[in-house]
Symmetry: C2
Subunit: 332 residues, 2 copies
C-alpha cells in the first residue's frame, strides 16, 4: 500500500485558513477543556538552547484523546536576528496522524499559528476573568503579542482606549500609530508602566523581561491582569506580591507555570505554592470552576503556552486547508 501523501502549507495559505475569530477561539477553548478533563497528554517542553546566538528552539506537543491528529511544534527565538534585519522568532508545525503515526501535514507558518493561539489564550482569560465593562486596556510591551493580544481581546470584550508602554519609546510610538489606525480606537503611549496599570481595568504584559514591570501597589479593585510573556525560568513580568494581592489566580497549566511562569517566582518568594487554590484555564472553559465572581475582585492569569493550543489551532488550520483544497501534496 503506498504511503499517504503529505500536505505542505505555506504561511500565506495558512493565513487564509485561520485567524482571530470565533471558530479559532472555540478550538483553543476546546483544547484547554480537554486538558482540564484529563484527556490530553502533554509531554514536557523540549528545549534546545543555542547560547552562541542568544537562541533557543522549543518543541511542544500534545495528544488529545479522540482527536484524529495532533501537532508537534518547533518554535525558535534567536535574539541576535534583528541585528541582521530578521525576525527573532520563527516556527513551524507538523500534523501527525493519531491513528497511524504518519506525518500528514507540514505547516510552514513562520510562527503565525503560535501568535494566533497565544493571543486566543489571552482572550479566553479575559472572557472568564475580566469585568464586562472595560474602558481602558493597558499594554506593557508593544511587540507582536502586544498587537495580537488586543486584536484577540476584541472577540470577547469591548473597550474604548489602549494605554501602551514599551521601554523603547520608538516602538511604543509605532504601535500607537499603527493600532490607532487598525482598531479605530484611541491608543496612547505612556512613559511609565505605573500609569498603564493604575489607569486600566485590564492589563496585558507581553514582554520577554527578566525583571518585573508590574508592582502590587499599583493594582486596584476589579482589575484583571494577563501576564503572557514569561515562558522560561528567568523571565518575569509581575512582582511576586502581585500574585499575593490577587483574589483569583488562574494559569494555563499549573505544572508548567510553577516551572516557567510567574507562579514560579511567587513560589520562590514564599507567596504561594502548589497547594493554593489556583485555577487552570481549562477549568474555566469546562465550567468546572468559576471565573470572576465579583466586580471588585483582582484576577491574574499566568500564561506560558501549552501544546494543546498548538494541536487545536493546527488541526483547525489543516481541516480548513483541506476544505479549501489548499497546499502542495508531496508523495509520502
Amino acid at each position: 500500500m503506498p504511503l499517504p501523501p503529505i500536505t505542505v502549507l505555506t504561511e500565506s495559505e495558512l493565513r487564509t485558513c485561520v485567524g482571530l475569530d470565533e471558530e479559532s477561539l472555540q478550538a483553543v477553548e476546546d483544547g484547554f477543556t480537554r486538558l482540564a478533563q484529563g484527556m490530553a497528554t502533554v509531554p514536557p517542553i523540549m528545549m534546545i538552547p543555542v547560547p552562541e546566538r542568544s537562541g533557543e528552539v522549543d518543541v511542544k506537543s500534545a495528544y488529545v484523546e479522540g482527536w484524529e491528529s495532533f501537532a508537534v511544534k518547533i518554535a525558535s527565538g534567536f535574539f541576535d536576528n534583528p541585528k541582521q534585519g530578521l525576525p527573532s522568532g520563527s516556527g513551524m508545525m507538523i500534523v501527525v496522524s493519531a491513528e497511524t503515526g504518519f506525518p500528514q501535514a507540514v505547516l510552514l507558518d513562520n510562527g503565525y499559528l503560535t501568535d494566533i493561539r497565544t493571543a486566543l489564550a489571552g482572550a479566553i482569560a479575559a472572557k472568564y476573568l475580566a469585568r464586562n465593562k472595560i474602558d481602558s486596556v493597558g499594554v506593557v510591551g508593544t511587540g507582536t503579542q502586544g498587537r495580537y493580544q488586543v486584536r484577540a481581546l476584541q472577540l470577547v470584550r469591548g473597550f474604548n482606549r489602549i494605554l501602551a508602554y514599551d521601554r523603547e519609546p520608538a516602538a511604543a510610538a509605532a504601535y500607537a500609530r499603527e493600532m490607532t489606525s487598525e482598531l479605530g480606537r484611541d491608543v496612547t503611549v505612556v512613559s511609565d508602566p505605573q500609569m498603564v496599570v493604575r489607569e486600566s481595568e485590564l492589563v496585558i504584559t507581553a514582554t520577554p523581561s527578566r525583571t518585573p514591570y508590574v508592582r502590587a501597589e499599583w493594582l486596584h479593585a476589579g482589575q484583571h491582569i494577563t501576564a503572557m510573556g514569561s515562558d522560561s525560568e528567568e523571565k518575569q513580568e509581575l512582582e511576586p506580591q502581585v500574585l499575593g494581592r490577587a483574589d483569583r489566580i488562574v494559569c494555563d497549566r499549573k505544572s508548567q507555570c510553577f516551572r516557567l511562569g510567574e507562579l514560579h517566582h511567587a513560589k520562590d518568594a514564599g507567596i504561594l505554592d502548589e497547594s493554593h487554590d489556583i485555577t487552570e484555564l481549562g477549568e474555566l472553559t469546562a465550567g468546572s470552576k468559576q471565573g470572576r465572581a465579583a466586580e471588585g475582585e483582582i484576577t491574574v492569569c499566568d500564561l506560558t503556552g501549552v501544546g494543546v493550543q498548538d494541536t487545536a489551532i493546527a488541526l483547525l488550520a489543516f481541516r480548513k486547508a483541506k476544505e479549501k483544497g489548499l497546499g502542495l501534496m508531496v508523495d509520502g
Copy 2:
C-alpha cells in the same frame, strides 16, 4: 528582508543522497565524537504515547556546537498499522538553522534516515569492538534493522555467513531468501536463539522484545554483542547477567541507556550501576578510550539511539541534496 525558502525533500530524493557508505559512517562517528567531547546538547527524548493504537511518537534532537544546523526528528511506531497493511514505523526530520533558528529543510524520509543512522551506530560498535576475523554473524530479529545492521556491518568487517532467528518462522525464511541473494553469503535460519549466540562471533539483537532473548550461559570468549532493540523502559533483549559476564561494556549514551536500554535492566538486577566502567561509543570514536583489547574479551554494546546521530545524518543528507540541486523550494 524576505525569509529564506525551505527545502522539501522526499524519501526517494534522500535515498539518492545518503546510504550505507564510508561518508555516512564518518558523519555518524563524528556526531558521537562531539557528544563524548561535551560539544553536543541533547535534550531528553520527548515521548508522546498513543495507547489506543499501540502507538508512540518520539521526538529527538541534538545541537552540536560549531555545526551550522541541527535536526529535530519525529519518529513513530504504531504497532496496529500492519493489520491495515501499513508499516509500523514512520518519521521525518526538520533541519533548523543554528544561526537563526529558522527551519531550512523538511526531510520526508519515512524513517529511512533513522534506519541508516541506527545501522551505522551498530557498524561503529563492531568497528571498535568486534574481533577482526569473523566467520559467523548472528541476527536475532529479522525485521528492517535485522537487514540494515548486517548491510552496515559490511563497511567494517568481512564475514562468511549469517545465522538468523525470528520468533516468526515465515519472517526468518523471507529474510534468509532475500539476504542470501542481496549479500551473496550463506544465510541460515535457526530455530533457537541459543544456536545463534553459541555459534556466532558477532551477535546483533534487533527486536522490540519485552523478554530477553540472549542468556549469559550461551556467551563465549571473543564474542561481541550489539543490542540495538531496546529503546524504552519495558524493552529488553539481554538477560541482565549478560552484562555481568561482559569484559567491556559500551553504550551510545549512558544517561539514556540507564533509563531505556539494557543497562537499565542490569542496574535493576543489581549487576551494575552508573559507577561502573562503561564506555560511551563517542569515547571510542574520539580515541579517548580503548575498544577491544584482547581476542578473548566478551564485549557488549547497548544502543538506544541518540539525537546526534539524527543531526549528523540529516545535515549530510541536506548538504548532498543541495549539491545535487534536489528538493522543492517553498517560500519561507
